[in-house]
């Protein structure tokens, strides 16, 4: 596999996993909770690094996953018990955890192989040289591909098995409860999945740009279709397109790949917003004018 292809593949895995979960986040009006989780897992990542001394440990995913769920819990705690409005509760919680993460990185700069650049925009460019070598010395290929591939698989299995439950608890939580499906359980399962995915994507695209992949492709797909399943398929396609076009944009300009991916994700959204056959702003406007003329 060429280096280009490896990077694009890693980007596509990450974008797809994020996008699929993002579909549910935006439909649940929880986009900003996704944003909060992606920031808040940072201290978990740094601590896991510090204790295990390596990147590819399952501990890291689990540890950060727990912190992600804890973040959701904290947000709800301040909201319910502290009577703090939700938006403020989100803002206070994630900035605090993220700040702790950045400080930990500075304090343990020598011991943790992580820096602020990685936090901000990941290191997807290094995918081809960061190889997984077994204890026996066999070179297995790019480590990140394994991680993001595994997480994508987990997400696919999660959504495939829980499709019906996720669908119903998202569309009509009261009815879901009435027919005996636990909204709380599925809420936390989804938040756990988002945490795992943001942690796994962190190395590739950083803590903040992962938000672009969580939100922009599903938001674009949302404007293009009115069917949840098609929305997820479209999200996947857009995710891959974002990865490919972002990569070549970055190569052409010598900029950050993750930054270029976010830029392209924004561009695709803009196109859909203006030109979507059903929802496009210009399309609707044009139709209206035509209707007036007749």
């Amino acid at each position: 596999m060429s280096n280009d292809l490896q990077i694009i593949l890693a980007g596509s895995f990450v974008a797809t996993a994020c996008g699929l979960l993002g579909c549910y986040l935006i439909l649940r009006k929880m986009a900003m909770v996704g944003d909060a989780i992606s920031h808040a897992v940072l201290p978990g990542i740094v601590l896991a690094f510090l204790f295990t001394g390596s990147r590819d440990s399952v501990t890291m995913v689990i540890g950060a996953g727990i912190i992600g769920v804890l973040t959701t819990f904290l947000i709800e705690f301040f909201h319910k018990k502290g009577k703090l409005q939700t938006d403020a509760s989100i803002g206070v919680t994630f900035t605090w955890l993220f700040a702790i993460g950045v400080i930990l990185i500075s304090v343990f700069a020598g011991k943790v192989d992580l820096d602020q650049d990685c936090v901000l925009y990941g290191e997807i460019a290094y995918v081809p040289i960061d190889l997984w070598i077994t204890d026996a010395g066999t070179v297995m290929g790019p480590r990140v591909l394994y991680i993001s591939g595994t997480v994508l698989l987990i997400i696919l299995v999660f959504i495939a098995t829980g499709y019906k439950e996720l669908f119903l608890t998202t569309f009509d939580p009261a009815y879901a409860t009435a027919v005996g499906i636990s909204t709380v359980l599925w809420h936390y399962l989804l938040m756990g999945a988002v945490s795992i995915t943001t942690v796994a994507s962190f190395e590739s695209v950083g803590a903040i740009l992962v938000v672009a992949l969580l939100i922009a492709p599903p938001a674009t797909a949302y404007l293009l279709t009115e069917d949840l399943f098609k929305m997820m398929v479209l999200t996947t396609i857009i995710g891959v397109l974002v990865s490919v076009s972002g990569y070549y944009l970055a190569v052409a300009t010598d900029g950050s790949i993750a930054g270029a991916m976010a830029t392209m994700a924004g561009l695709f959204f803009g196109l859909a917003f203006l030109f979507s056959p059903t929802e496009g702003y210009l399309v609707k406007k044009f139709r209206k004018e035509k209707a007036v003329m007749h």
Partner: protein, 267 residues
Amino acid sequence: MITQVENPIVEIHDLTVSYDKKPVLWDVDLSLPKGHLIGIIGPNGAGKSTLIKSVMGLIPNSSGYIKLFDQDLSKVRGRISYVPQRETVDWDFPASVIDVVLMGRYGKLGLFKRPRKADIEVAMDCLRKVDMEAFKDRQISQLSGGQQQRVFLARALAQQADLYFMDEPFAGVDAATEKTIIKLLREMTERGNTVIVVHHDLQSVPQYFDWVIMLNMRLVASGPTESTFTSEILQETYGGKLTLLSEVGNLLKQGRFPSREQTEVKN
């Protein structure tokens, strides 16, 4: 004024429901007979939706208990169906009509299982009953208010329950559809099902329902329509608000008093 029945299908015992410690329903105590079309009547904010939600276990009770089919809710969920108010969901949601109706089968399917052919047939059958068969693959965002309501109704029918709770199923529905739906509900009750409907239009109450529950923060009356739906009781239901009661409610909220005396652990 509150007629209690033998072998009730729904029994509500001293139910108080609060939001944030402020009771919005006080001490509701009633029982309902099987096989009737029952209307819940009361002004806006009377607590009609709250009563249904509490029966469905969607909000916790401050005190009191509810028995359905003489059992706890958890044991009989499969026999109960619920139609929420239409505005409670986001109709921009990417789903088609049949998707939504199939949700009615989810409770019976259990975890991880996909709807089977038989489920789809039931769903189609229910769509037919509400005259929405032709819209099967239509996206829900493209439906009119009345059509959305019928989809919700079909979803409830697809549950094949014995007891139905419907929150304002006629809101935003045209007169013809309302007639169709009422006819359908009548047929259901004739087959022995019980249908409980929150209703707004006082004109049609005597014509539609054979039992009414009159509600305004408290239960004003519950009983057969002829004897219960009187101008005197209407006056009481829609007349003056019980200001003293609301003020006591506010005190409970501000003081954050425990809703009942949970303080004293009995020995």
